[in-house]
């Protein structure tokens, strides 16, 4: 079985995030790190590999991003991936969610994975949807917010938390599964693994190498344009009650709540 894990490099949570006024896009300079949710995906892949229920031939980390994204791949490899693939191309800059998912799907197609794992969301785009886009292009079943995976021959039994409680869903492989952070506690890489990461094979691919139609990616290929970044409306200053007569205070609180249909 071959598992591909989609990983993404995102600005570190500590970096103050802002929009770059000159490009109108998220300012991605500054510290970057492997998207924390993706570490859960890598851990899930490793647990399947080490679990023994199925034979996993290799775990491949795949990312789409600028040159610096190799760091995310090194991290993924230090956590156990056997090799990595880096899709990078000027033409991809400014891709929206749908375009990004398409580009990743094309890259994955070349790998013919049995299972694609990814973190359910990324710290920067704050989207929860790449998995669904990738799955549609790959023509595979997909689930997101999965917090438990049991693998047996050719299929998965997944648990995920949906609107009405926990759903248990059986999924036939090949499939695309987005995992939530509750699924596992990611391991720490050993020093040896960190030092060995750079030696593991890393392939770099451009759009032409994986048959990406340039008209479907990049800023021009994206069907949604984001702009007009502005501050949210100022919140009205709150009201303060000094409690002197508690019965009266409580009355005021109840009236306030009632006004807002909170009771």
């Amino acid at each position: 079985m071959k598992i591909c894990v989609l990983v993404k490099e995102v600005p570190d949570a500590a970096v103050e995030k802002r929009i770059d006024p000159s490009t109108g896009r998220l300012d991605r300079t500054g510290e970057k790190n492997l998207n924390p949710f993706d570490t859960h995906a890598i851990e899930a892949a490793m647990q399947i590999k080490e679990g023994g229920a199925v034979d996993v031939d290799e775990v491949v980390a795949v990312t789409m991003g600028p040159e610096s994204a190799v760091r995310a791949l090194h991290k993924a490899v230090s956590l156990g991936a056997d090799r990595s693939v880096h899709l990078t191309d000027e033409a991809l800059a400014g891709s929206d969610v749908a375009a990004t998912g398409y580009a990743l799907a094309q890259t994955l197609e070349a790998e013919s994975p049995d299972l694609v794992l990814l973190g359910q969301q990324s710290d920067d785009g704050e989207c929860y949807t790449i998995g669904a886009v990738v799955a549609d292009h790959l023509r595979m079943p997909s689930l997101t917010q999965v917090i438990k995976i049991d693998v047996s021959d050719g299929k998965l039994r997944c648990e995920r938390q949906a609107e009405y409680g926990y759903d248990t869903v059986d999924v036939e492989l090949p499939a695309v599964i987005s995992v939530g952070d509750a699924i596992n506690e990611p391991r720490y890489p050993s020093l040896k693994a960190i030092m060995g990461a750079k030696k593991k094979p890393l392939e770099t691919k451009a759009t032409g190498d994986v048959g990406i139609d340039a008209s479907m990616v990049g800023e021009d290929g994206s069907r949604v344009a984001c702009g007009n970044f502005h501050d949210p409306p100022e919140k009205d200053p709150g009201q303060i009650i000094e409690d002197e007569d508690t019965a009266e205070t409580v009355e005021k609180i109840v009236a306030w709540l009632d006004e807002r249909k909170l009771i």
């Binding site: 929009i19 886009v133 799955a135 609107e163 479907m216 344009a225 949210p232 609180i253 009632d258």
Partner: protein, 326 residues
């Protein structure tokens, strides 16, 4: 004139609140676009009767498409919606907050090569087109999306769209014939909607009563449990009291805990340091009770009460019970 197709989730004979909100929102927008709001419901149980579906007319849908397919899974819905949009040319697809909205909306955008925006908090009409606004960068900025092409997909944030009923007739119901893609048959629901544990998941609760060091002792949480019970909500805690062992980590809100955005967040004995604030600042209504008038929480609460929580909370619980019961 543009029509909007709204996905409506249902379960055990009831429509999902967020879906109803989306229908109401779509109806409002459609009228500005000189178009109509149509709903689509996918299911195979006996609950998707004509009467049941026609009831969506109360929320502004003029037509409801009924598609036969497994409940609770996203990909069959993508197939159904794609078919409807292909034949009837809806310009926008709208989803209320919730898991399936993300899965279906994103998959639909992939299928139809359309633009998609998620976590949308507001939609407006500009020049005959819809513009979707969403918060970004941890709610510090708003970004607006405009769509190119034949279809725009809008996925709302949880609780962003308010359901509103109106007078008027029921919606017409139309059955949709469509084919399931081969991969849409590869996922099978084994068990749906299993409730686990007696505790309400704090991330889903509409009302959260949170306690901090100001409670003074672990027993202080007992009065908060009572208040939460009166509201039908859940109890949460700050890092400091979780550290001290007064409350389990599962209820911790803040930078290193959970992020929540309930309708009502009542903070008792919480100072409001930023490490806590970032976990609850998007709550719709914030009420704070603290005996220290200088506590930072009063700078961002909607209603601040300076006083002794041990006196106020029990009385408030009684009053809430009375109001609800009476």
């Amino acid at each position: 004139m543009s029509n909007i197709l709204v996905y409506v989730l249902h379960y055990e004979g009831e429509f999902n609140k967020n879906s109803l909100g989306a229908v109401s929102e779509a109806a409002k927008l459609a009228s500005e676009l000189a178009g109509e709001a149509h709903a689509i419901v996918v299911g195979e149980g006996s609950d998707v009767t004509d009467d049941f579906l026609a009831g969506l007319g109360k929320y502004g849908a003029t037509k409801v498409y009924r598609a036969k397919g497994p409940d609770g899974l996203a990909q069959p819905v993508i197939d159904a919606m794609a078919k409807v949009i292909d034949s009837d040319g809806h310009k926008y697809a709208l989803f209320g907050g919730g898991l399936l909205g993300f899965e279906i909306g994103a998959g639909l955008a992939a299928r139809k090569r359309a633009g998609v925006t998620m976590e949308v908090t507001e939609v407006k009409v500009d020049n005959g087109e819809l513009v979707a606004a969403r918060p970004i960068l941890q709610d510090s900025k708003i970004s607006e999306s405009r769509y190119k092409g034949d279809l725009g997909v809008i996925i709302g944030r949880l609780n962003a769209f308010e359901a509103s009923e109106r007078d008027g007739g029921g919606a017409t119901v139309e059955d949709v014939e469509f084919e399931l893609s081969p991969w849409s048959t590869k996922a099978t629901m084994v068990q749906r909607g299993e409730q686990r544990g007696a505790d309400v998941n704090i991330e889903d609760a509409e009302v959260l009563i949170a306690g901090g060091r100001g409670l003074g002792k672990p027993e202080g949480f007992e009065q908060l449990e009572e208040l939460a019970s009166a509201f039908g909500g859940a109890v949460a805690a700050t890092r400091a009291v979780v550290d001290a062992g007064w409350f389990p980590y599962a209820g911790q809100i803040g930078q290193t805990g959970k992020t929540v955005a309930p309708k009502l967040y009542l903070a008792a004995g919480i100072s409001g340091a930023i490490q806590h604030k970032v976990g609850m600042q998007s709550s719709e209504n914030i009420v704070a009770i603290n005996k220290d008038s200088n506590a930072p929480i009063f700078e961002f609460s909607d209603l601040g009460v300076v006083g002794d929580l041990n006196k106020i909370v029990p009385k408030l619980t009684e009053a809430v019970k009375a109001k609800k019961g009476g």
